[in-house]
Symmetry: C2
Subunit: 378 residues, 2 copies
């Protein structure tokens, strides 16, 4: 293998595939990045066996030469060293050449590195995903779906299925649901041209969060393909594979109340900031719990109390409070996560009593919903 | 105590005095910030007993009202909570009021905190520093002196005196020296109007680094006062106290060679970057050591070798190499620290053989000097 490549293209690809490389893998060759060159261009691969990322640098792009390949071939180089080296090379072009016994020269200007590589034949093959079932989502919408649901997955391995986000596609509508059993995030969106497909899969939250980091903020379509145990996201010059989680995702529809007894319409930013302040004294002791009470004149009272430190009490003017009086306690962190995910200046909170789950939504929009279970303190 | 204060002024003062507050103190009241108000203004104090910082907010400044004091008094509030609260208050002004049993109200807009305070009478008194011996340095120069020497102090408590920077003032010249016994940093500067004073003290490196963070980048004069075991830095509205280290600082003058056998004149940035690249493979294994060899044609060869990972070799074009041929090994980290401290586009390295300490200097300027002990590898 021998080629000359533009440093910025190589560095970007290395950064992308590094998202899949873990230093704590039990398979030694996976601490490396696989580099393959042929007349079409150069392909980099990183994997931790759960996630695999392939990044392709075409030899030529928009009339500009990215790579000049002299000899095709492949090699695996230690990811940690290779990525640091590429970042710090002195010139705009880099020459790479595999010599005897996988010894690999990386040359740029007057700097010459010689790394001990590994046989690319021993690098695991990526899953084979058939192109039968494919649907498409713009990259920026995909990132939004991930951001609005991914935070609510469970971080505990007690119920592994809850560490993933449930994706259901039916009748051209995709529903993404995440819950850690104390709160739930749901986001729906219609998918153009996917009326035929029907899926119900669970994608690891960690995979989605890494995917989100390498997708561009454009409306370029990302192709999504499923097999029994794998999902493949295909963006421009990037393939992102993730395993799916085994098992059935719980039916969460019964959790979501379809009536409410108290409804509050409030400015999201003001409400978020008052919860944030109340949580300052709630972090100590009792699990970051704040109290909310409805008051006369459309006011909410947000408060928390930490016996050894002190207490905080704050009034928030709402747009409207309708229905029964209410006192309820909940996790400040869950509420702040939900409010940040909603992307709305005005939000509607619907309660059905102090001990029932409550909903946070954008007024007049049912494509997104956040649910929180209250905490018993009264 | 009761006053109304501008939030930004309070937040800045809290941030300054927090630099002295440690959560790991053995004296419980020192986890707090002392707040005192009188007709002149409000004073905040933080201390970990090694460092104490006092920040004063004058009631009026340049015709602008900062504080309106209704009742004088003082209180100690938990630093961690108080600092977080002040940052997140909703309005531009803050009302503070001490009630019964040190209970303290902090009110801003519709948010009201009630913190359990401690008796300010129990807060330790700051050292009493007489104004007999005082000299003055512009704040930006003081920060530069600290940056150019402080990094070279020892981080090990084996020889506690080496964790400090030696400051000597004699004949109107201040010399700052730091060494961890593997390298040494020295910076001299003349001090206007200090021909009479004569000091030889050792200031903890940590104190100087915290001081540097709260000084502004202006040429406002900072007053410096010494007692037997304390130093006081007086900047505008800030008093910064630090204890001095006990014991005699070693005589380092014999360490510094006064002749050289090989001199290299080189561009600092190019040299730094090549050392940085060579160190990428040197971090593993042998203590971050790189090799330097003089070559024909005014070239330097920088290299390192890590048997399990690979090797790197790079040539650097110098301005001039004079004297004997040389092969020498040294810590890449020490060399990079020294080069960054010099602030010069061109630097001169003077060697007196492969096993003798060598000097890195700015050409034609003897106010700053960096010394490194080589490592035996040849």
């Amino acid at each position: 293998m021998k080629f000359v490549i533009q440093k910025d293209k190589l560095a970007q690809s290395v950064q992308d595939v590094m998202k899949a490389v873990s230093s704590r893998t039990t398979i030694p060759i996976l601490t490396g990045i696989k580099i393959s060159a042929n007349s079409e261009g150069v392909t980099l691969t990183g994997s931790d066996s759960d996630i695999s990322i392939e990044s392709f640098i075409p030899a030529e792009e928009k009339g500009k030469i990215n790579v000049e390949v002299e000899t095709a071939g492949s090699i695996v180089l230690q990811a940690r060293f290779f990525s640091e080296i590429v970042k710090k090379l002195p010139k705009d072009t880099v020459e790479m050449e595999v010599q005897n016994h996988f010894s690999t020269i990386i040359r740029s200007g007057k700097a010459e590195f010689n790394l001990i590589g590994l046989d690319a034949e021993e690098y695991p093959h990526l899953p084979n995903v058939e192109e039968d079932h494919v649907f498409r989502i713009p990259a920026d919408l995909l990132k939004t779906l991930i951001r609005q649901t991914g935070f609510a997955v469970s971080t505990s391995e007690t119920r592994p299925i809850l560490t993933g986000v449930n994706w259901r596609l039916e009748n051209g509508e995709l529903t993404c649901i995440a819950t850690d059993s104390h709160r739930l995030a749901l986001r729906k969106t219609s998918i153009d041209g996917a009326n035929e497909g029907k899926y119900n899969v669970v994608i690891p939250g960690k995979s989605l969060s890494e995917l989100s980091k390498i997708l561009d903020d454009t409306n370029d379509l990302t192709e999504i393909l499923f097999t029994d145990n794998q999902v493949l996201f295909k963006a421009k010059n990037i393939l992102f594979f993730s395993r799916l989680l085994d098992g059935n995702y719980p039916d969460t529809s019964r959790l979501i109340p379809d009536e409410s007894k108290t409804d509050v319409l409030v400015q999201a930013k003001e409400f978020l900031q008052s919860i944030d302040r109340a949580s300052l004294l709630a972090k100590e002791g009792r699990n970051n719990v704040v109290k909310l009470s409805t008051m006369d004149g459309g006011m909410l009272e947000i408060s928390s109390n930490s016996p050894e430190i002190g207490k905080v009490i704050e009034e928030v003017q709402t747009e409207e409070i309708s229905g029964e009086e209410l006192k309820i306690s909940f996790s400040a962190k869950y509420m702040m996560d939900a409010l940040k995910a909603l992307d709305s200046s005005e939000i509607k909170v619907s309660f059905t009593g102090a001990m029932r789950p409550f909903l946070i939504r954008t007024p007049e929009d049912d494509s997104i919903l956040q649910l929180i279970l209250p905490v018993r303190t009264y």
